[in-house]
């Protein structure tokens, strides 16, 4: 994936304005409305007569999930967004300082495809979350607070991050990345997706770790709750121009802000013009939160193809990080022994 939309085109601003203007306040839970295509835009159809989402899409964005504490209002102006984005792009593509951690790690701008080189899916929102209206994740339940405290205690017992492979994060271990979801989110880099449809299924390939989610459209029941998966099990249906996907049966090991295995996700994909998809998701997890919450991202058409992201197969970084940690411990022990008086 390589394209150089470093700056907003007027087209993407227009799309964002349209998407933004469709929203109304005080939406409750899964009763999120489906967006409508832009005025005068007819959503293309597959030979089977369904809205055609085929192609390559990016959801790379600098918009934070939660609204910043000092920020008021649901939307920025186009000028404000352009300024914020320009600063962020400059920061992201800046030369790393020699000898720093960022420098020793490969430079994402030079050797990866960070957001400064991606197709950006820029909207005007001050936060991806639009419900609750304050743009923040709702308060935790008492049970949720207890679970968070328990998890923290258990994490402490497992030792430091570099003590064992299981203590490292899921992305470093090449198990799953933030972009996979569902809820699909900006992955930091390579936030690219390929959608392929036939009459009975929609397949969404996530570039990161080649995660393909296959969504049946045949109205089948949700899978048995004894089946638990990293990406859950998804069931989809069409509502006019919108693909609605409901996902449950998560294994709970890849939480978003503390979610549990009881999380359910409802996603809504609506193509509003040739280059823009509005993507909304609602998270319900009564164990963790006092109410559901919803967010909106844009997905922008980008250039394919998507290359093979064989993450685990070449994971020298993980191996070397652990080797380095053991070596540092060994050196520290040797130094301590040398300092000991005879």
């Amino acid at each position: 994936m390589r394209t150089n939309h470093r700056f907003l085109s007027s087209g993407s601003i227009t799309a964002a304005v349209i998407a933004a203007s469709l929203m109304t306040a005080n939406l409750v839970g899964a009763q999120i409305p489906n967006p409508s295509p832009a005025d005068g835009y007819t959503v293309p159809r597959t030979p089977d007569g369904q809205p055609d989402f085929e192609g390559f899409w990016s959801n790379a964005t600098y918009t934070p999930l939660q609204r910043g504490r000092g920020v008021s209002g649901e939307f920025y102006t186009a000028e404000e967004v352009a300024a914020i984005e320009a600063r962020a792009l400059e920061r992201e593509s800046a030369q790393t300082v020699p000898g720093t951690r960022a420098d020793v790690h490969y430079d994402f701008t030079q050797f990866g495809l960070d957001r400064s080189q991606a197709t950006l899916a820029t909207g005007l929102r001050t936060s991806l979350i639009f419900d609750p209206p304050d743009g923040r994740i709702p308060p935790r339940t008492a049970e949720g607070q207890r679970i968070m405290a328990q998890r923290q205690e258990e994490a402490g017992l497992r030792g430091g991050r570099l003590d064992a492979v299981e203590n490292m994060n899921l992305g470093e271990r090449c198990i799953i990345m933030a972009g996979a979801g569902p809820q699909m989110m900006d992955a930091g880099y390579n936030s690219n997706y390929q959608i392929v449809q036939n009459r009975d299924y929609v397949m969404i390939l996530v570039e990161m770790i080649h995660d393909a989610r296959i969504i049946p459209l045949d109205g089948r029941e949700q899978a048995d709750p004894k089946i638990r998966q990293w990406m859950g099990t998804s069931r989809g249906h069409w509502e006019g121009n919108t693909l609605v996907v409901e996902t449950a049966n998560f294994n709970g090991k890849n939480p978003i802000n503390g979610s549990t295995e009881n999380k359910r996700v409802t996603e809504r994909f609506t193509r509003i013009d040739d280059e823009t998809m509005v993507y909304r998701f609602t998270i319900e997890d009564e164990t963790m939160w006092t109410r559901p919450w919803s967010a909106e991202l844009l997905m922008k058409q980008t250039i394919g193809p998507i290359f093979e992201h064989a993450c685990h197969e070449g994971n020298y970084g993980l191996y070397n990080t652990l080797v380095g940690a053991r070596l540092e411990e060994q050196l520290a022990a040797e130094e301590a022994a040398a300092r000991k008086p005879n």
Partner: protein
């Protein structure tokens, strides 16, 4: 995408020639069956498919044999198989046959499947896991349950492989009733099976998927790799539709299952039996 069409015209021509050569080697078995058509008029090969054979243990004909892990007893023993190689034997160069034998002897250490690596082509097809074909006009996706391995078969905009990969770079076309897939660009790190049968990065795979009845595809493969084999050779087998109404590709995200094997010796504290 239109800005790249000129740049890749040469690549398309090269691929087209390759497809013609491939077609002359792997000839589809004649069948009277005509598959239903998709909305855009192509044979409809959509579905969840799986082989029923023991080729993943050894693609050549073989007898049952004990397994390598004593504690697993009959569970890990090798089931016998008729083989999927046409003619029964792979035409190895002598030095390559010696390498295969060494691979077999050291398979516990070397088989990429043990480490949950992407399985390559055609091994992904006959691993003991289902896979799903999702066709559109522009792309045919093959999504495997094992390790979430994915193949994108480009039905338009054919190009040469941009870089070596585990699953290769696949260009597809329709030849009457058959989907013909031409795959190159392998990294040479995958095997054909657990018996150490292997290839180099010069591997060229030509596959033909042809519906033989509503629930059976004929899968024919031509293998070329002059570094390893004295001549091209072929394999063939049926693919069976998973006809359960709720059939679904589930996760076999095996990275998690091999972390202790690969990184376990790098723990700060070894796992004690009580843990």
């Amino acid at each position: 995408m239109k800005d790249r069409s000129g740049r890749w015209a040469t690549a398309t021509f090269v691929t087209a020639v390759a497809l013609l050569l491939g077609a002359s080697i792997a000839t589809a078995q004649t069948t009277d069956y005509r598959a239903p058509r998709t909305g855009d008029g192509n044979p409809d090969l959509n579905g969840i498919w799986q082989t029923i054979n023991t080729a993943n243990w050894d693609i050549e004909p073989h007898s049952a044999a004990p397994g390598l892990v004593r504690e697993l007893g009959a569970i890990a023993a090798i089931p016998a198989g008729l083989g999927i190689v046409d003619g029964g034997s792979i035409p190895y160069r002598p030095e390559a046959r010696a390498q295969r034998d060494e691979n077999f002897a050291r398979r516990l250490e070397l088989d990429p499947e043990i480490k949950c690596y992407l399985p390559g082509v055609p091994r992904a097809t006959y691993m003991p896991f289902p896979f799903q074909i999702i066709q559109s006009r522009q792309h045919v996706m093959v999504v495997h349950e094992y390790a979430g391995a994915v193949r994108t078969i480009y039905m338009e905009n054919h190009t040469l492989p941009p870089a070596p990969t585990w699953m290769g770079w696949s260009n597809g076309s329709w030849d009457g009733e058959s989907l013909v897939v031409d795959t190159r660009g392998f990294n040479g790190l995958t095997w054909f099976d657990r018996a150490g049968n292997f290839h180099s990065d010069a591997l060229h795979v030509i596959e033909r998927f042809t519906a033989r009845s509503a629930d059976i595809l004929l899968y024919e493969v031509t293998i070329e790799d002059p570094n390893v084999f004295t001549r091209p050779w072929t394999m063939s087998m049926p693919l069976y539709r998973r006809v359960e109404p709720n059939a679904e590709i589930l996760e076999f995200r095996c990275v998690e299952f091999v972390e202790d094997l690969i990184y376990g010796h790098l723990r700060k504290l070894p796992i004690t039996p009580e843990r």
